[in-house]
Assembly symmetry: C2
């Protein structure tokens, strides 16, 4: 592992000064290789699937593991989209003349070496390698052992693409051992790795957060709220709430708790319950909710804290914006929270005071996504506050250094 | 400690929405209180000094501990300067219309609760509290036990100022116990503290870096280089090198190693050695340096790695920019490095490829400083790459969240 780290560090120095043209050429070449070799990738993937099935891997994990034709096409397409994004490296901003006569500004540069730790989904291998490559970083990929053959087949395509563009092979390395101790070493070698991005279940991420010596950019959970203010437009409130819950149950931006102002609850809740019932969503409500929605299940304290990622919604009637924000402050996970209101002052308060990575007005929380925000692909959605907050695209994989230009000024 | 943390968290919510006017009023009131109560502060400081002397505290530490009239005035002046800086909180940028019809932008907000761990210098109490207050954060200050009486006296003035401006007393809290275990708790309570800024010796900072569960913004060391290219203007090279070394020996931006291109070494080194000898600087040189500078001491491997913070300079003759950058990559600490050259292509390469928090062209490294860069006061100079790199002012104490404005858009 240390050798892997040292080679990544050496490759990072080359990548940091690689021209945009070479990085894009590599991305296109990897995309082509993935399409050309889709049969071989799927053969490797079948080995993983067979091993998974005989090892008793759960059905949802098997599903994530599978590389269908569509998923392979989408990996290749994702790489081409990354190639089309502007190169963040070398961008100079905020250049100002100082009283000393020096010009001081900031230049965007790669972080260096990025370690990605992930589970099941082998498409992360291509996505993460592509984002790190475009942002000028070397990558060490540590996927799940259940996907090792698939990951190595994809890594073969990546290495072909790097070679075609004249970039170092060590720019993207896959950890080949399935030894769990490898993760422990990876997250501790802070002289070789600049940041770790863990992607996976909450258990994995909490463990890495506890043990890492290397800084991490992490996504912990998405207990997202929509608050319907009593000055909301009724139709808009219903539209936003239904979409926030039902667009996709499994994404981290899905609404998990709906808060409704008492003054509008009797108009919102019966209509909403009807629409959600049609979609097959179970409602767990506070007492006031249950008075308005006949078949709502009683909500317990645990419901306010839970990220269901399923067709279940917790609903609470609150006095107004203050009580709503207090609920979000107490139970929210700082991911994405929305208000539906026509009142400008309340919209501004909610935006300023709710301490989440995304705060929305009159829009459903399921829009929390790098593509929707215009960042291009994302390496994840950070629920941390430092460095990168919210969807993390190329910018989050870079840092800025100060540059200072003078002609022999002295300080004194 | 946990109670302290919970109270800081509650105060942070109030501070995050405090108007600029109230924060500035508090800063001015604290400055006035410090001036008004300078006699009482100095009496408390004398207790610390007496205890330090009888406890055998080393002379440089006693010097840092002492609050002279000038230092007290400068604390008050520093707070007034922070009041004069623009408030970063609430700034909205990059607002763009997306194809979905949503407007997506980013709003700058406080980090929340900031823990500052520092040694000896009691003026950090006022400086750090001031920066955190202006940036809308609550602060937990843990100074050295040797400065406890001084820190509490200054904290008294801070609480007076907060009260005068109607801001919560818990916005700034001083850990009153001198128990070392308090630091261990502070750096572990990640639900109450958002970031730790350790200020002090390398030993303290390494220990905190190893043990912290809370993210840290740290300054490790400043092994800064100046490289004199063979296309440098000779006078400028001498001016920059002398100033980089002699402006102040003890600052982290002081040059510790000078690299000179072989093609200009015979013209630079004898003249430079003369000027540095006048200033009382000892030269430790490679063999080629010693052939040009009669009284240079032989440099060992350890010299290339050392941050002297003293009137000592390591000097090495190198083949050119590639060898210089390789030396900096191997021995540097990523703090601040400079090139002196008239060659534009080399200047651009040095800026792009040297991976340090500040990279300078034709300017001495001692300019690495928040005031000189126009950031106003600084909480420190970060040698980390994530979040804040280089001098950290108000911006480094904030984060940006996404804000999304719509009128009932749905994703689908």
């Amino acid at each position: 592992m240390l050798d892997l780290g040292a080679r990544a560090r050496a490759a990072a120095a080359v990548l940091a000064r690689a021209p945009t043209e070479a990085k894009n050429a590599a991305l296109f070449a990897v995309a082509d290789a993935i399409v050309d070799q889709s049969r071989a990738i799927q053969a490797a993937n079948r080995q993983d699937l067979d091993r998974g099935r005989s090892g008793g891997l759960a059905a949802p994990l098997l599903d994530r593991l599978e590389l269908t034709d569509a998923r392979i096409r989408s990996m290749a397409e994702g790489l081409r989209q990354i190639a089309a994004l502007p190169d963040p490296v070398g961008e100079i901003g905020e250049m100002r003349m100082r009283p000393s006569g020096l010009q001081v500004g900031r230049m965007r540069v790669p972080l260096g070496v990025i370690g990605i730790i992930y589970e099941s989904r082998p498409n992360v291998t291509a996505d993460a390698a592509g984002l790190c490559l475009k942002s000028g970083n070397a990558t060490i990929l540590r996927g799940g052992s259940e996907a090792l053959a698939s990951n190595l087949a994809i890594a073969g395509c990546i290495h072909e693409g790097l070679a075609a563009a004249g970039l170092p092979r060590d720019a993207v390395q896959v950890v080949e051992t399935s030894d769990r101790a490898a993760v422990g070493i990876l997250i501790a070698m802070d002289s070789h790795v600049d940041v770790i991005v863990p992607r996976g279940g909450k258990g994995l991420i909490e463990r890495i957060g506890r043990e890492a010596q290397v800084p991490i950019i992490k996504h912990l959970d998405g207990n997202c709220h929509v608050f319907i203010d009593d000055r909301a437009d009724l139709d808009m409130a219903l539209t936003v709430a239904v979409n926030a819950k039902t667009y996709r149950y499994g994404i981290c931006g899905a609404m998990e708790t709906l808060l409704v102002a008492r003054g509008i609850a009797s108009r919102v809740l019966p209509a909403l319950a009807e629409r959600l019932a049609d979609a097959g969503v179970e409602i767990r409500g506070c007492e006031e909710t249950r008075a308005l929605v006949a078949d709502a299940v009683p909500a317990t304290e645990a419901d306010w804290e839970t990220e269901y990622l399923a067709a279940i919604l917790a609903v609470r009637v609150v006095g107004g914006i203050d009580e709503a924000m207090a609920h979000i402050g107490r139970y929210g996970s700082g991911h994405t929270d929305a208000i539906v209101t026509d009142d400008l002052a309340r919209a501004r308060r909610f935006m300023a005071e709710v301490d989440s990575s995304s705060v929305m007005v009159n829009a459903p929380t399921c829009f929390a996504d790098g593509f929707e925000y215009g960042l291009g692909a994302e390496i994840g959605i950070s629920t941390d506050k430092l460095h990168a907050r919210g969807p993390v695209g190329l910018e989050g994989l870079t840092t800025r250094k100060f540059i200072v230009l003078g002609n022999g000024q002295v300080r004194g």
